[in-house]
């Protein structure tokens, strides 16, 4: 097929390649991944100024668009010295697989750089802050929607030539500065750019405000990046606190009795969890109430008896956790109690980092409905009202409105304080009757299946996590719980019944209305 014409063509083009003298220099390419408002622009400007101050040509570009409004943004920089008066022709966008340095101002943005192919094992130095700033899709989930940080670190392990990752947000904050300064320091400390540390610092000093803190944060970032790597242990959530049983007896005899019961009646592995439960319930009501808690858990401990050990006492463990949560339900009394404690007053001061010479007053946003008010009444009276919808509705019209409670003023603190004082009558209230009824029905359900299908019973206990929140949210939680357990008749006989129930609970936590849940329920029905 090769005609003489083609042949000439090839010769001529070969000739062309030979005559072409090809300079092999390549610019240093650097990408900054940040979220709008994180100062990625400032950092980019610093890097450009740095290169120019050292006599290099530098070009930066970005595509902010509307992304300055909290969205993820990429800034791109290329730098190279001019050669015999010829300025380099630099690219306005990164080539995936051809980026030398990636700076990520947040952990998931580091992940994004990997997914976009900007971070590659042959060349890329990845400098990332390991702190998390959750995206809306992560935090809007009714359950825990947070992405797994270790997935990013794992991926970086295979995707980057070298990774420098630590929490630069906290580091910068410690020095009263912002993350861009710490990142700039890490970049200098990594020694990936042919510019001296002084040049970096000059650039910061030439800037406008906050020079001192910026230099401090820069230095801190520099030390961390240049020093020996100190890998951080990243976890989606911090390790749960497991306090051991107190060795020394407490001043209160009833508390000691509780401790002794835990020690004697329950497997050792569960002591910290039971202790946490007991603490919660003593705080919620009183030692006797915590005693009832241990009784309820003991039933399940007895149920699994000696066989439990082999299964890690899963049944008792779930009971210990969720019975405590269920018994310490969120009623008006508890909220009033929590809001009026001195420890809470102090915590607020700390949270808003108030100076000693400043005063802090809090306003609570409360919205009581008839349910809450009637729930406070003695069970008989409350029940009587509840059964009369008209009366109930008129009470609701009376009370159902938002109230701004200035808990720091005496005239608002007092009523809250008195409400909290109703604690001693709690066992008699309508709300308590409802809660106990639901609690017992739930535990009865677990007990019923425990014999035949142990794993299923374990998951039944765990399903109680769906019941949470206040008013509508609480109602929605209850309905989700009911829909989940409605599948039990189908699941009871199945080997994989427990697995299915777990799936149902997970699905219920995916979205508010429970659309995902309904999907799985359909599948279950078709089993």
């Amino acid at each position: 097929m090769s005609s003489p014409r083609d042949a000439d063509a090839m010769n001529s083009s070969l000739a062309m390649t030979e005559t072409f003298r090809h300079a092999s220099d390549k610019p240093i390419s650097l990408a900054v991944l940040a979220m709008g408002g994180q100062g990625g622009g400032v950092l980019t400007d610093w890097i450009v100024a740095l290169a120019e101050s050292c006599g290099w040509c530098a070009q930066s570009t970005s595509v902010p668009g509307v992304a300055q409004r909290t969205g993820a943004t990429i800034y791109y920089v290329e730098m190279l010295p001019a050669k015999d008066g010829k300025a380099p022709v630099l690219s306005l966008m990164p080539s995936p697989g051809d980026v030398d340095i990636v700076l990520a101002a947040e952990l998931m943005e580091a992940g994004r750089s990997i997914l976009r192919g900007l971070t590659t094992p042959e060349k890329t130095l990845l400098i990332a802050s390991t702190h998390r700033s959750f995206a809306v899709v992560e935090k809007e989930k009714p359950g825990d929607g947070a992405g797994d940080p270790n997935a990013v670190i794992e991926a970086a392990g295979v995707a980057a030539r070298r990774t420098i990752a630590f929490d630069m947000e906290t580091l910068a904050a410690k020095h009263g500065s912002v993350i861009s300064a710490a990142l700039f320091g890490a970049l200098a400390g990594a020694g990936a750019l042919p510019f001296p540390r002084e040049a970096f610092e000059k650039v910061i000093a030439a800037g406008g405000r906050g020079i001192e803190p910026s230099l401090k944060a820069f230095a801190a970032g520099f030390e961390r990046a240049s020093g020996a790597p100190q890998p951080e242990i990243l976890r989606r959530s911090p390790a749960k606190r497991h306090d051991p049983l107190p060795a020394a007896p407490s001043a209160h005899a009833p508390l000691n009795t509780l401790i002794d019961r835990i020690a004697k009646e329950f497997p050792e592995g569960l002591h910290p969890l039971l202790f946490a439960g007991v603490k919660r319930l003593v705080d919620f009501q009183d030692p006797a109430y915590a005693g009832d808690y241990l009784d309820r858990v003991a039933v399940f401990n007895a149920l699994e008896g000696t066989t439990g050990a082999a299964r890690g006492f899963a049944l008792t463990e779930r009971a210990a956790k969720y019975v405590a949560v269920a018994m310490a339900y969120d009623d008006v009394i508890r909220v009033a109690d929590l809001k009026t404690r001195s420890t809470r007053f102090q915590r607020v001061r700390d949270e808003v980092s108030a100076e000693p010479d400043q005063l802090v007053y809090t306003t609570e946003y409360m919205h009581p409905r008839a349910e809450e008010i009637v729930g406070l009444l003695p069970a008989s009276l409350g029940g009587w009202i509840e059964s009369r919808r008209k009366l109930f509705a008129s009470i609701d019209r009376l009370v159902n409105k938002g109230r701004r409670v200035q808990s720091g003023s005496v005239r608002w603190f007092l009523p809250l304080y008195l409400l909290a004082g109703l604690r001693r009558f709690r066992r008699g209230t309508l709300r308590h009757r409802h809660e106990v009824a639901h609690l017992e029905a739930w535990l009865e359900l677990a007990r019923r299946y425990a014999e035949a299908n142990y794993d299923l019973a374990v998951e039944i206990l765990a399903a109680r996590r769906l019941v949470k929140g206040y008013s509508d949210t609480h109602a929605r939680g209850l309905s989700k719980y009911d829909r989940v357990v409605s599948a039990l008749p189908v699941l009871a006989g199945r080997e994989d019944g427990a697995a299915w129930l777990r799936r149902l609970v997970q699905a219920a936590l995916v979205d508010e209305k429970g659309a995902a849940l309904d999907g799985v329920l359909k599948t279950v029905a078709s089993l």
């Binding site: 090809h22 909290t70 690219s91 911090p238």
Partner: protein
């Protein structure tokens, strides 16, 4: 006042001949205008050209010195019409906007302008908002150049080329009596670079001279028979004049070897991308040396047939590198070559993708495909192109797809638009879902999680207009949203006037945040700030009443979610005929913070008594269902994992960026969520009375707390 101050950039605009200008592309263009002796500048802000408008309005002093009139036009149509000052008088004028969105709005005036033609240089700087980072529909402005015969310059994306393009544009316009568009893409607008400046020029012929010595020529007015003459004049006179100028001034460039049996024809804007691709293919180096002949069209329209023919002759094949579609230039090349019976193969969208941005990998892969087809030996034993696919295929990397969340732009911390959509969500809880017509502006973020509100967007200020068909008897009404920016741009007439005139039985929400916020916080008619050079503080409510709206509600604190919800409910259920208009006003928080933060800090230093509000969550009251977040999405309202062994899910938490806007509390109250939220009022420099009161309160409350805590049975910590 814009979100960002350009005081430093204004100094850059003052530098004189021989000094080096360092900065952003769009600011280089601004400097180029002043170096060209421009008499007037107008435009409508929008990425990527907002900074040009912002720096010019911050540069008022300098503009007065130079005798340049600068105007923030009401819309792109206004800006285009402004160019008619250059029709009869030798006055240079420039306008700017985001394209194609802005060009669409301006097209009426542009057609008239280009029909009659111009005397003074008329230049349109268009920020081509195409590809990554773009916020608009993906189209080419090229079509406007062709249909109206406006010349289109598309310079290489480096500052010297861009500046030269702007300066030549004025001369080209005058040489051919035709308006000229200078197209700069997003990245070029934001590219940092340097060029050697010239002195700024005062206009030789001033607007004042024109006003005082008016002249007219019916031959320039678009009316028959003149309009028929214009079309012929375009072809017979203006076009050849332009071609000659472009040739003489060598606006298009040749790189690489003189001869070769293939060549690349590219638009100026594509140059850096093509060079990087050739470099990766081993056919160019980073200093601009190329082994392949390049013909760079810095002028995308008109094409210079002779140059094209000269470049193509003797070549087996050429490839046309033009981004976006249709492939106008590729088609034109074929016509040109066929007419002269030149058999050079023309490639383009056969090796390049028909649609989408020409990213680095696309550029390299497509040019390689071209060379493989027509000059295989050139490629030689090339080193492989950069390719991340192996690592992307790694299971650990694939796993990231499940983990890395999408992070689109959204409402800022404390944004006053958030509570509006929270309220809308609450109303939909009661009355069911509605058809909601959205508009252009920050409020369009409502279509994203957590709000997921909004069905269509039809253009700036056209939200209510886009709901006008739904003006029939039904059990539900359409809701339409429009920002204050869109309202003054086009909405008052096209949406409100139309709704009133046609008795549109729908709900119209005008989101009034005191600025054109999405484009960078520029002042508009209804801005509440005092602006010495503009007439602000014009009420939207009075405007809509002025055009005959009857049912109008003003909400002056959008954060009042309860009121917002109740007003929406009333609007959706009232029996009143005609449009139900709700004007929801609160200041853009981004701009408000920029305004008040320094003042607050100053006052605090001076020892003035101040109250700072911020919100918090009582973590032991919060049950971690995140209902509050589903009605907010505020960046400073996030979740926090606890070490409590009895908890499964993270609790809500407010970080220190909180500006105390109130949305959290209002939503918790209106939606009856939970009592976890609190507002903390931090009193700076408390007065003597504050301290005395605090003392008394502390005594009483402290006593009660101690009393209860003494009785409380607790485990020793």
């Amino acid at each position: 006042m814009a979100e960002r101050s350009f005081a430093r950039e204004v100094q850059d605009l003052k530098i004189g001949a021989g000094e080096e200008f360092k900065g952003e592309g769009i600011l280089a263009i601004t400097k180029a205008l002043l170096q060209s002796g421009v008499s007037y500048v107008g435009g409508y802000q929008g990425a990527p050209i907002s900074h040009m408008m912002d720096v010019l309005s911050d540069a008022a002093g300098l503009m007065e010195e130079l005798g340049v009139h600068f105007e923030t036009s009401a819309s792109e149509a206004t800006a285009a019409a402004m160019l008619s000052a250059s029709v009869m008088y030798p006055i240079r004028g420039a306008v700017t906007w985001k394209s194609t969105a802005g060009t669409n709005v301006a097209s009426d005036a542009l057609s008239n302008l280009s029909s009659g033609g111009v005397t003074g240089g008329a230049v349109i700087i268009i920020g081509e908002d195409y590809g990554e980072g773009s916020s608009i529909m993906q189209e080419r402005s090229h079509a406007y150049a062709m249909k109206s015969q406006i010349w289109l310059i598309d310079p290489r994306p480096n500052l010297p080329s861009i500046v030269n393009a702007v300066e030549s544009a004025f001369e080209l316009s005058e040489a051919s009596n035709t308006p000229v568009m200078v197209e700069v893409r997003i990245r070029a607008c934001h590219v940092h670079g340097a060029f050697i400046a010239k002195d700024n020029k005062r206009p030789t012929f001033t607007l004042r001279q024109a006003l005082e010595n008016p002249s007219r020529d019916t031959g320039r007015i678009v009316l028959p028979p003149a309009s028929f003459g214009h079309e012929r004049e375009k072809i017979d006179k203006r076009w050849p004049a332009a071609v000659n100028f472009i040739k003489e001034r060598k606006l298009n460039e040749r790189f690489g070897p003189e001869s070769g049996d293939v060549g690349v024809i590219l638009l100026g804007g594509m140059y850096n991308g093509v060079m990087r691709a050739l470099q990766q293919l081993g056919l160019a180096d980073v200093y601009g040396t190329s082994a392949v002949p390049l013909y760079v069209m810095n002028v995308a329209y008109p094409l210079i047939d002779d140059e094209i023919v000269a470049f193509c002759e003797g070549k087996r094949a050429v490839v046309m590198v033009e981004e976006g579609q249709p492939e106008f230039i590729e088609q034109a090349l074929n016509t040109i070559l066929r007419r002269r019976d030149i058999q050079t193969r023309v490639c383009g969208k056969d090796v390049f993708p028909r649609a989408g941005e020409y990213t680095a990998p696309v550029m390299a892969a497509s040019l390689r495909r071209f060379l493989e087809l027509h000059a295989r030996p050139l490629l030689g034993n090339q080193s492989p192109l950069p390719d991340p696919s192996p690592v992307l295929a790694h299971p650990k990397v694939k796993a990231l797809n499940e983990v890395v969340p999408a992070r689109p732009p959204g409402f800022c911390t404390g944004c006053p638009e958030r509570p509006i959509f929270a309220a809308m969500k609450l109303v939909e809880e009661e009355l069911g879902p509605h058809h909601i017509a959205a508009d252009i502006g920050c409020h369009l973020f409502s279509i994203l999680p957590p709000f997921n509100i909004g069905a269509t967007t039809m253009g700036y200020g056209l939200g209510p207009a886009s709901a006008s068909a739904f003006n029939v008897k039904a059990d539900k009404r359409a809701i339409s949203v429009m920002g204050d920016g869109g309202f003054w741009h086009n909405g008052l007439a096209s949406s409100i006037g139309n709704a009133v005139f046609n008795k549109q039985d729908g709900v119209i929400v005008v989101v009034d945040n005191y600025y054109s916020a999405a484009t960078g916080g520029q002042d508009i008619m209804s801005s509440r700030a005092f602006n010495g050079r503009r007439e602000t503080n014009n009420s939207i409510v009075e405007a809509v009443k002025g055009v005959g709206a009857k049912w109008v509600r003003q909400i002056d604190r959008t954060y009042d979610v309860g009121a917002m919800r109740d007003t929406l409910r009333e609007a959706l259920t009232t029996s009143e005929p005609g449009p139900k208009i709700i004007v929801a006003s609160s200041e853009c928080m981004l701009n408000k913070q920029r305004r008040v933060k320094p003042l607050f800090a100053q006052a605090a230093r001076e020892g003035k008594r101040l109250i700072k509000e911020r919100f918090g969550v009582d973590e032991d009251v919060c049950t971690g269902d995140h209902a509050c977040i589903r009605l907010s999405g505020c960046p400073s309202l996030s979740v926090k994992h606890t070490d409590d062994p009895l908890r499964d899910d993270p609790v809500a938490a407010v970080d220190n960026d909180c500006v105390g806007c109130g949305n959290c509390g209002e939503v918790a109250e209106a939606a009856v969520l939970c009592p976890s939220f609190y507002r903390a009022d931090i009193i700076y420099n408390p007065s003597r009375w504050d301290l005395r009161l605090a003392k008394i309160r502390g005594a009483v409350i402290g006593f009660l707390q101690r009393r209860r805590e003494a009785r409380r049975i607790v485990f020793a910590a």
